[in-house]
Amino acid sequence: MAIALIRIDDRLIHGQITTKWIAHANANRIMIASDRIVQDKIRKSVVELTAPKSIKTEVVTLAEAIEKLTGPLAGENCKVFVICVSPDEVLALKQGGVAFNQVVIGNMGAMGSIEPATRVTKSVLLTGKDRKDFNELLELGVKCEIRVIPSDRPVDIVRLL
């Protein structure tokens, strides 16, 4: 499977993503890679009900995602749009050997976090842990940019940590 794009967005699949990013990334598959979502029956159901009908969507654990994204290619014309809900999940993919060097950040609302979070842009709130995780990603050579829709001017996260 080729990765079309990796995105961090705790709203998962919603209006902006389905209408613009999939076309922009030329993806023909959606993979939600998140242990949290696999375990959250309600959010998992929301994804399953609202995924675009024209495109195959799966919700998998990080371990499964790593296996699928590093294993033998599941068909050359398979271009996957990967969505994680937080930087620690993207970090786990990178540390698990998945090959990518940039991630697009959409909405991060510090959902379900007990740690205090500060707002860095209109769509992004960061906790101390998020900052730590982004720093690790940057050290591993992954460029992290905030862009809600493809036509937005990207904001490099390094300036906001």
Binding site: R11, L12, I13, H14, G15, T18, I42, R43, S45, V46, L49, T50, P52, G109, M111, K122
Partner: protein, 130 residues
């Protein structure tokens, strides 16, 4: 009768409220929720749940949202898992007027929603006098 909540982006739900009032006056057991800039999904869920409970008098409720897969839709879906409610997406004015007309016919929320999908589609036509 079935309670109705309209939830949409920006001032769209309020727009529907004004249009309905213009045509048939203010309706009971009906609330309108606007997703404002800066509102988190959690904020929206609290507001929406309050509205759903306010309109439900025992026959369940219909949460009519503007966009399939948008935040009002996704939040409404989480509410349908918790209370007797059905989510209807892509709502238009014709659907809302029909919903007001048929919501006390004794049918359950799913049956009413099915009928509304039909009515909604029938209202979408291309017309021209040439």
């Amino acid at each position: 009768m079935l309670g109705i909540v309209v939830a949409a982006h920006g001032g769209l739900a309020q727009g529907f409220a004004e249009a309905i009032e213009l045509i048939i006056g203010v309706q009971e057991q009906m609330e309108f929720v606007n997703l404002q800039p800066g509102m988190s999904p959690e904020d929206l869920k609290n507001i929406l749940m309050t509205a759903v409970k306010a309109v439900d008098t025992g026959d369940g409720s219909l949460i009519a949202v503007d966009l399939f897969g948008g935040t009002p839709c996704n939040v409404a879906l989480t509410i349908t898992a918790e209370v007797e409610a059905v989510c209807l997406t892509g709502v238009n004015l014709g659907i809302l007027l029909e919903a007001i007309g048929i919501r006390d016919n004794g049918a359950d929320p799913q049956e009413i929603a099915e009928k509304l999908v039909e009515v909604g589609k029938e209202g979408i036509q291309q017309l021209k006098i040439s």
